[in-house]
């Protein structure tokens, strides 16, 4: 591995959409960064589209309700003070503010299994 790239710690796979990618850190502190704290325990890697080594990319984390590992894609999860996978959001939809409810309602027809 290139220096600074960080060793691959494993392969992150979203349990909903099966998106997978190797990840190089897990936690709230992306490596080589100062002043950045993540508000959840994340799977992340170096931002593959940036030439700078310390730029990071969060791939996903665990749903705070069901503990499923999900990616941060809008089809799979959302963050609202905590990470929720969409199935859990739907289950507790009434507890979410209206903005999110309408957002999800819009999404439904196009949603893939």
């Amino acid at each position: 591995m290139d220096s600074g790239e960080g060793a691959v710690r494993g392969v992150f796979t979203c349990e909903l959409c099966e998106l997978s990618s190797p990840y190089t850190f897990y936690g709230q502190k992306p490596p080589n960064t100062r002043g950045i704290v993540l508000l959840e325990e994340c799977y992340g890697m170096r931002d593959p589209f940036s030439p700078e080594k310390e730029k990071f990319l969060v791939l996903g984390s665990k749903c705070c309700l069901c503990n499923k590992i999900v990616c941060v894609g809008t089809e799979c999860s959302l963050f609202y003070t905590k990470r929720f996978c969409l199935p859990c959001v739907r289950e507790h939809l009434h507890q979410f503010p209206e903005q999110i409810q309408t957002e999800l309602a819009k999404k439904k027809p196009t949603q893939k299994s």
């Binding site: 950045i36 993540l38 931002d47 990319l57 969060v58 609202y80 503010p97």
Partner: protein
């Protein structure tokens, strides 16, 4: 940005000062985003948008009672919700709750309110608490936005990967490779095999994977794509390696490289232990290297059971590959092509033309018209038209262009490898709405160049293909019907981006009659380099090598014979020291020879340039030839010595321009109609040659300059410059590809017409759109990174400033390198038109000079003009100025053409380089290589010339062998041949001798080609006369009766008195009195005895002891070499004598 909030009175978000103050809080040196970085600039742009957005929202939000008023509702509803745990979500919606990042900035570190405190301090009204939190909010949104952006790229990438047909076969492929040493993956265009298969293997734990490609450019673009797809764009896990460039590092796990390069690596390490998996892509293309590689790998697999081999092919002839590897399992993957409608439109007989005529454009125009009628202009889709060659392209282009101008619905663009790269690049640009591109291409667009957006394909069904005629030693570019496989490939070009149509300008029955596959390259080309490489890899007899599809035996035999003639193989077919060296050089044997020969004399710099220039495509654009401005601008570069010298001048002049004006060279090239890319390639190749020569000990290693204060400053400057250049290169690499520009309607019209012969060089000018950056002259940057321009300039000075003597020697070196590629001007050329000059080679009569050659423009320099012919022999064509052409290529298109020619003095060059020189008894008649006859009326002069040539050749050979023998370090020959390196004095003396021989020849002679009848009765044949077996004549050489030709074989190349017209077989009678100019010998001698005396009798000057300390060859050795043990049968004594002394001794016994 309105005053909706309480801002400090002098606070202005747009003021740089205010922003700078926030920068001190959020964008410090060690923060995630640093002030003055690109992201920092992006942030402030984002910030402005963000504020505008919020302002707008606030306006609409307050009027529509959303936003602040709402949460109460939400809260109420939350409460009324049924069951489930309380998630503890905030009651009021705020977009910031959706951001999962927090930032610790200076104000946080310092403790809240510090900034506010500072502000109350009075002097500076810095940002207030509100400004800080506003900026923080924007920053959080910015970071979130950046995350979303990157993540959606990953998502899109993964989706595309999953949609590829091969994705379904991922696990199966990995499983097959795990279980089998060889696997064949067969999949058609668009199935994703080239990009995905290596990734699947990499992802499932295989490492050290090499993937070969037939084209260099594919290595680069695949490495780029795969590293992007594996999210390793900025790492070096995935790399490429091509001839002059590599991105490989020790951490590279997947390497794309050319077939040729992998073969070179096998030459270094036969076990290829650095790789675990080898993927050979595009095996169906059947390139020479690929076929050979497969053969080598087949035997390697047996020796390395851990090695995995994956062959990837289109679904063509899969059985062949599977069968060759012991019925390896095949994984067949469907391609992803849209349906293509095939329309057969055979050309009606009245529109068909004979070979010599121009193509009739009507069938092609009909297709264009048909498209215009049938498909609305709004429906996009371009047309790709396949023709066989450049002349055909320009004919059809002309007609299509007229039609395009008339309709305004087409932009006509040519595509072939002799176009400039900028011209070629145009085919990737986009036509304006309502207009289609009509790309008229050679078969370069069949595999090498892929153009998206093609909906219509017109297939002429023809291709021009190179073949090799071993009898005439000539390449031939001929037109053929294509194969069914090619036909399908061309058709497929219409269905890459949507459903398409393919018009075939031949009948379905023609299609059925096509050969199933194209003829593999190994059956079409000269195998010299291949055989040489096989020899150096120790693969035994090339005839018994198990090729997948063995080339004709005669083809291999021709190559072996040729290599023997060239001195690369000895009689038993083993490599000679020079052969070993040549096998390491990635060039034609003749070019390799030039390099080796040039390194002997101090001609390295010009020879390096010439060898490089002759190994790349010509930098002179054909299209510019008819442009008078270009011709005028080129004029000073032309050399009447020959094309290699024009190339040398051009390169040198370019390097000077580079040194003086840097980027200005682009314009300089344009004015002269030069393709600068070729000059860059020459510079790279030149450097590679230099390194190769150095590593073989043929070139002194450069001494590092003594460290001086000045040197240090220079070095530092150079380092600074280099890091600046690296920065530029990096920036260029980050610019993702080039944006395609929109073509103008008149784009095609400025096209220069291209006429002349067609030459679609295989393996040249191959590229795809990824390679063509614009704007930054990245080539200039790379050039400066790779080369020390000052050094190159010095080298250019050296070779631009050659004396006429050095030039003479250089021509001889080129001639010896190119030998036996010689052409004789026809004797009647001076009475012919310039364009009708005729030449003859040994195996081919009546060849022409290629119109690009300097001798086509100025053939007079080759004529023997009237006043130059000797006073007495004018009518017999006698002169001392006869010349020959040494040429690089002989290619037959519509006529046989020689190109890249050098002129050399005939007699001198022939007796110095030819493999066979035969003479009559008094050496007034010489026959060279059995086809050229030289008649000298002055026997004395003939003898003098022959004798000194023999001496010079022997010395040249000796020094060359010494030089080669000295190359122990790099070569693996190990022939125990490690004499002393030739001394500088010796070499200078030899050079001096050669030049004198070349320049001051006063021998008048006639020169002609022998007729077939004359060649039949050329030799007297073996004689039974014991008198002829004279004692050995030259020290270390034996003159024996030649068993075939008759006469006496004096050296390996010179046979004396074997020509049929010999006046007397008993040459003793030819004794005439002669006095040696060097010693006091005066006696009647035969020509042979005289030569032999001259060879051993050194001039007084030469006999002086050599006290030059730089000369490391001991003088004792050279004198002792002259004497040898002689046993006289008559007096029965053993004597140690020189040859002259032996002669004298023998004379004693005669009555």
């Amino acid at each position: 940005m309105s005053g909706r909030r309480a801002e400090p009175r002098d606070w202005d978000w747009n003021s740089p000062r205010c922003r700078a103050e926030l920068d001190h809080i959020f964008f410090r040196q060690h923060d995630y985003i640093r002030a003055n970085s690109p992201e920092h600039a992006e942030f402030w742009t984002f910030f402005e948008r963000f504020q505008r957005f919020r302002a707008k929202r606030e306006l609409s939000g307050s009027s529509s009672s959303r936003g602040r008023a709402e949460p109460q509702d939400g809260k109420a509803r939350n409460r009324s919700g049924t069951g489930g745990p309380d998630l503890g979500l905030p009651k009021e919606y705020d977009a910031r709750y959706r951001i999962s990042v927090s930032v610790c900035s200076r104000d946080v570190e310092d403790g809240f309110g510090s900034s506010g405190h500072r502000r109350s301090g009075g002097e500076s009204s810095g940002p207030g608490r509100e400004q800080v939190s506003e900026c923080r909010l924007a920053l959080l949104h910015f970071l979130d936005f950046a995350q979303k952006q990157s993540f959606s790229k990953v998502l899109k990438l993964r989706r595309e990967q999953r949609n590829l047909p091969i994705f379904q076969y991922r696990e199966r492929l990995v499983e097959l490779v795990r279980r089998n040493p060889v696997v064949v993956v067969a999949g058609d265009t668009g199935c994703g095999k080239s990009t995905q298969a290596p990734q699947y293997l990499l992802g499932s734990g295989f490492s050290n994977i090499a993937c070969t490609q037939p084209r260099r450019i594919a290595c680069i673009s695949l490495a780029k794509r795969v590293s992007f797809e594996t999210l390793n764009q900025f790492g070096s896990k995935v790399g490429y390696q091509i001839r002059f460039e590599t991105s490989r590092t020790p951490s590279t796990k997947l390497l794309f490289l050319t077939e040729g390069l992998l073969l070179r690596q096998i030459q270094q390490d036969a076990a290829l232990s650095q790789y675990q998996v080898l993927i050979v892509d595009e095996v169906h293309e059947r390139h020479l290297h690929c076929d050979f590689l497969l053969g080598v790998l087949r035997s390697l697999i047996a020796r390395r059971p851990d090695l995995r081999l994956v062959l990837m092919s289109a679904t063509i002839n899969i059985k062949l590959f599977s069968g060759y590897f012991n019925h390896a399992p095949v994984l067949q993957v469907p391609g992803r092509l849209f349906p293509i409608q095939v329309i057969y439109q055979p050309i009606p007989p009245e529109e068909q033309v004979s070979k010599s005529e121009k193509l009739d454009p009507r069938p092609y125009l009909r297709v264009l018209q048909g498209i215009d009628q049938r498909y609305p202009a709004e429906e996009r889709g371009d047309l790709l038209l396949f023709l066989s060659g450049v002349a055909e392209i320009s004919t059809i282009m002309e007609a299509c262009q007229t039609y395009a101008t008339h309709t305004n619905r087409w932009i006509v663009l040519p595509l072939h490898s002799t176009l400039s790269l900028t011209q070629q690049d145009k085919v990737f640009d986009i036509a304006p709405p309502g207009v289609r591109k009509c790309i008229i291409s050679t078969n370069i667009a069949e595999t090498s160049v892929t153009i998206d957006g093609v909906r219509f394909v017109v297939d002429s069904g023809k291709v021009k293909e190179m073949s090799f005629d071993p009898k005439a030693k000539m390449q031939r570019l001929q037109e053929f019907w294509i194969s069914r496989a090619s036909s399908e490939q061309r058709k497929g070009r219409a269905g890459r981006t949507g459903p398409g149509v393919c018009y075939r300008l031949y009948a379905e029955s023609d299609y059925e009659a096509f050969a199933p596959y194209p003829v593999p390259e190994i059956h079409r080309v000269a195998l010299d380099s291949l055989v040489l490489q096989m020899k150096s890899m120790g693969l035994g007899d090339p005839l018994s090598f198990a090729f997948i599809d063995p080339p004709p035996t005669s083809s291999i035999q021709t190559a072996v014979t040729y290599l023997k003639e060239q001195g690369a193989l000895e009689a038993r077919g083993e490599l000679t020291p020079i052969g070993t060296l040549l096998s390491q050089l990635p060039v034609d044997v003749v070019i390799g020879k030039m390099l080796v020969l040039g390194s002997l004399f101090s001609l390295v710099e010009p020879v390096l340039t010439i060898a490089a220039a002759l190994s790349v495509q010509s930098p002179f654009l054909r299209s510019a030839q008819h442009n008078p401005d270009c011709s005028t601008a080129r004029q000073p570069l032309n050399s009447d010595l020959g094309d290699p010298f024009t190339l040398l001048n051009t390169f040198n002049a370019w390097v000077q321009v580079k040194g003086e004006r840097g980027g200005g060279s682009r314009k300089w090239c344009k004015r002269r109609g030069l393709e600068e890319q070729r000059l860059y390639e020459m510079a790279n190749l030149r450097r590679q040659f230099k390194e190769l020569l150095r590593s073989h000990g043929l070139l002194e290693t450069e001494e590092p300059p003594a460290p001086s204060a000045q040197g240090r400053t220079e070095r530092r400057e150079r380092l600074t410059e280099r890091s600046r250049l690296y920065q530029l290169k990096r920036e260029h690499e980050l610019q993702d590809g080039g944006r395609r520009k929109v073509l103008r309607l008149d784009e095609g019209q400025e096209e220069e017409s291209c006429s002349g012969s067609d030459n679609e060089g295989s393996g040249s000018g191959k590229k795809d759109k990824n390679s063509m950056g614009r704007d930054v002259d990245i080539q200039e940057v790379k050039f400066k990174l790779r080369h020390n321009v000052t050094k190159l300039q010095e080298a250019a000075y050296v070779s631009a400033d050659l004396s006429s003597r050095q030039l003479a020697l250089l021509r001889l070196v080129l001639c010896r390198g190119l030998y036996p590629q010689l052409a004789l001007p026809d004797e009647h050329n001076s009475t012919r038109k310039d364009s009708e000059q005729v030449f003859h080679t040994r195996n081919k009569q009546g060849v022409m000079i290629h119109p690009t050659s300097v001798f086509a423009i100025d053939p007079e320099v080759l004529h023997v003009s009237e006043n130059e012919t000797g006073e007495f022999g004018a009518d017999r064509g006698e002169s001392n100025r006869h010349q020959l052409l040494a040429f690089v290529t002989l290619l037959e298109t519509n006529k046989p053409y020689v190109s890249s020619c050098v002129r050399v003095p005939a007699l001198q060059a022939l007796i110095l380089v030819a493999n066979s020189v035969d003479s009559n008894a008094d050496c007034t008649r010489l026959v060279v290589d059995g086809w050229l006859e030289l008649c000298v009326s002055d026997g004395e002069a003939a003898l003098r010339a022959l004798s000194s040539a023999l001496k010079l050749r022997a010395e040249w050979e000796r020094l060359l062998q010494a030089q080669l023998g000295h190359t122990g370090s790099g070569s693996t020959a190990g022939l125990g041949f490690s004499g002393p390196k030739p001394g500088r004095r010796e070499l200078e003396k030899l050079a001096e001798g050669l030049v004198r021989f070349l320049v001051y020849n006063e021998v008048t002679y006639s020169l002609r080609r022998l007729t077939a009848l004359q060649t039949q009765n050329l030799y007297i044949g073996p004689q039974l006369n014991p008198e002829l077996s004279l004692p050995p004549l030259f020290p270390g050489m034996k003159a024996e009766p030649d068993p075939v030709k008759g006469g006496l074989r004096v050296t390996s190349y010179f046979t004396y008195n074997c020509l049929c017209d010999s006046k007397d077989l008993y040459s003793e009678c030819l004794r005439t009195f002669w006095s040696c100019p060097h010693c006091d010998l005066h006696m009647p001698l035969t020509p042979l005895e005289r030569m032999q005396h001259e060879a051993t009798c050194r001039s007084a000057e030469e006999q002086q002891p050599e006290d030059d300390p730089t000369d490391d060859s001991p003088q004792a050795a050279s004198t002792s070499a002259l004497t040898r043990l002689y046993h006289c049968d008559l007096c029965n004594k053993d004597l140690t004598l020189t040859s002259t002394q032996i002669l004298k001794h023998k004379r004693q016994h005669q009555p």
